[in-house]
């Protein structure tokens, strides 16, 4: 059962090949067997999962089932889950039992999906390797000595090892697409405002966006049908009609214009990764698309800009963790200042503190113009590059990451090298655009991701383009050998 797509599992449930309870127990058994080696779950919600599954079986029998009813899922531990610990992989929230559900969680509950547990991640989603988690690093199922990517590393590893049929993630600078690429999955970062951020613990509010990690574009479309939509509880949610993301998957690609930015194939790109990405673009050409070379001249500014905007917003968002109303509190504070400082100093890990301090500095009196204001101006230039490109082309293609999965420990003590692993994904968040990563081959046994960037609210088109490639290739169907059975 664990090698099937959600589309095929949903059919199995309807035909009575297996019940949701059987399916859920199968995945829980796999989690018990393999989570020790991978560490992709912070919390396994076995009781919740079985109760969800029994209710789903009742709905299936009564003919009240939604497409996802009875399908087990893993949720990134950044989404608040009522009555279940929501840690954001931080000591700060190790004892935090969320008092409400995120809108995304509520939507999956209403659809009858089953929650297997809460997936590991980088602390407060700050990281690109899942090594900053308070609960320890996550292994990449393709080679457990390597990182799964981050910050949605637990979600990606769980799906790649077939411990969950799909998972939720969030993407602030590449945190869905980069782990999807390094683990051989399909991961979609929607348009800013497409998926509700309510109950999704905030990192950088102008960039954060939730989305699916799945085995196929079709499965990602099924998840998007539940996740996307206007939410009045999120003041940045955008009130736009939501299409059926599955409706146009099989359309032909004729007439599609693909832009290939020369800046995405320069220094720093691993040669083997570059070749596989070029080969995938070549395949699209054979499938009827036209390839156009384009330029995104301000690409080189995206990482520096991001590392001002994201820390600035993080320093403001994380000021809510004060040790007073919830979360970690230090022992025996002597006064209120001591309570704040030690609760935060002891509750946050090194990378989170680094970013809070960078943000605090960038926003402090006298430095605002040089850092934050300048970054917001560059953000406009970066966004304008895309706007110009989309006049000429329908989508933009390139690598998701400069290399395949790197070895654990490689970049942990070198923040700049770690930041550069998101060099191709960051600009998309700065511009608020949707983008998807899909597997397009293997280099030395490790998956390589192709990134497809679309115009605002073009998620359906991205899923369609990804789906057509997956009809012609089987990279997405490969299972890491150690997790086959």
């Amino acid at each position: 059962m664990h090698k099937q797509s959600i589309a095929s599992l949903a059919q199995g449930l309807r035909q009575g090949d297996f019940s949701s309870e059987e399916l859920t127990r199968h995945f829980l058994d796999r989690i018990h067997r393999y989570n020790g080696a991978l560490n992709c779950f912070i919390t396994v919600t076995e009781e919740v999962a079985l109760a969800d599954a029994r209710e789903a079986d009742r709905r299936l029998r009564a003919g009240e089932a939604h497409a996802l009813t009875g399908i087990p899922l893993a949720h990134k531990d950044i989404f608040c889950t009522d009555g279940v610990r929501t840690s954001c992989a931080s000591r700060m929230l190790d004892n935090f039992i969320a008092p409400y559900d995120a809108t995304v969680i509520q939507s999956f509950k209403a659809a009858g999906a089953v929650m297997l547990g809460k997936a590991n991640m980088d602390e407060f989603a700050m990281g690109s390797s899942n090594e900053t988690s308070y609960y320890g690093p996550v292994g990449n199922p393709w080679d457990t000595a390597r990182v799964p990517g981050g910050s949605s590393g637990g979600s990606a590893a769980a799906v790649a090892a077939r411990l969950a049929p799909a998972a939720t993630g969030t993407d602030t600078g590449g945190s869905i697409r980069q782990p999807a690429a390094l683990c051989g999955l399909t991961g979609l970062k929607p348009t800013y405002g497409r998926v509700s951020r309510y109950g999704m613990i905030a990192f950088a509010s102008s960039l954060d966006q939730g989305g699916p990690l799945a085995l196929t574009a079709q499965d990602a479309a099924l998840l998007m049908n539940v996740m996307a939509g206007f939410d009045e509880k999120d003041s940045t949610s955008i009130d736009q009609p939501v299409p059926d993301y599955c409706a146009a998957l099989d359309q032909p690609l004729d007439g599609l214009r693909i832009g290939v930015p020369r800046e995405f194939f320069g220094d720093g790109l691993d040669a083997a990764v570059g070749e596989l990405v070029q080969a995938a673009i070549g395949q699209y050409q054979r499938m009827g698309a036209a390839i156009v070379e384009i330029s995104l001249p301000n690409t080189r500014y995206s990482a520096p800009t991001y590392y001002v905007v994201a820390p600035a917003e993080c320093s403001s968002n994380l000021s809510r963790f004060d040790g007073v109303r919830y979360g970690y509190r230090c022992e025996d504070p002597v006064d209120l200042m001591d309570l704040y400082k030690r609760s935060r100093g002891e509750g946050f890990g090194a990378e989170v503190k680094r970013r809070i301090m960078i943000g605090t500095y960038a926003l402090s009196a006298g430095y605002y113009d040089a850092y934050y204001l300048k970054a917001q101006k560059l953000r406009q230039l970066i966004s304008d590059d895309f706007k110009k490109a989309f006049v000429e082309v329908d989508v933009i293609m390139g690598p998701t990451t400069p290399t395949t999965a790197f070895a654990a420990g490689d970049k942990l003590n070198d923040p700049i090298q770690m930041y550069l692993s998101d060099i191709y994904t960051i600009a998309v968040n700065l511009a608020g655009l949707p983008a998807i990563s899909i597997p397009c081959g293997f280099s030395a046994g490790l998956p390589v991701g192709l990134q497809i960037i679309g115009g605002y609210f073009k998620e359906a088109q991205l899923l369609h383009i990804a789906h057509r490639y997956q009809q012609e290739t089987d990279w997405h169907a490969r299972v890491p050998e150690a997790f086959e059975t």
């Binding site: 039992i97 008092p99 800013y192 405002g193 102008s206 003041s235 940045t236 955008i238 080189r300 500014y301 990482a303 520096p304 800009t305 590392y307 001002v308 320093s315 000021s319 004060d322 040790g323 007073v324 109303r325 919830y326 979360g327 970690y328 509190r329 504070p333 006064d335 209120l336 309570l339 704040y340 400082k341 030690r342 935060r344 100093g345 002891e346 503190k353 680094r354 809070i356 301090m357 960078i358 605090t360 500095y361 402090s364 850092y371 204001l373 300048k374 917001q376 101006k377 560059l378 953000r379 406009q380 230039l381 966004s383 923040p415 700049i416 930041y419 700065l430 511009a431 608020g432 655009l433």
Partner: protein, 95 residues
């Protein structure tokens, strides 16, 4: 920009973070590296660019000023570090 230990102390205070003596030097070095990295922004000419407020030029949505949430004090205080008689307890603020 190269930060000294004293700069880090000041930033850590503004951010309400306790940072140990031993950590100060390491933060001074890694924060300086990050600032040096973001200073790559300086080579861009943005003199005629307006700062971006929202990628889709959306504006803040307003709603009627009416109470919609119900009080859930017990539920919220159940996860607080220290409460008493419905109040959140902190060290004495006024001597």
């Amino acid at each position: 920009m190269v930060l000294q230990r004293s700069d880090v102390e000041k930033i850590a205070h503004l951010a309400r973070l306790a940072v140990s003596e031993e950590e100060l030097a390491a933060y001074a070095s890694s924060l300086s590296d990050i600032l040096k990295f973001v200073e790559r922004m300086d080579s861009a000419d943005v003199s005629r660019v307006a700062p971006m407020a929202h990628p889709l030029d959306a504006v803040q949505r307003l709603r009627e000023d009416a109470v919609r949430e119900s009080s859930q004090r017990e539920k919220f205080q159940a996860i607080a570090p220290r409460v008493e008689a419905g109040l959140y307890l902190v060290p004495k603020v006024i001597e």
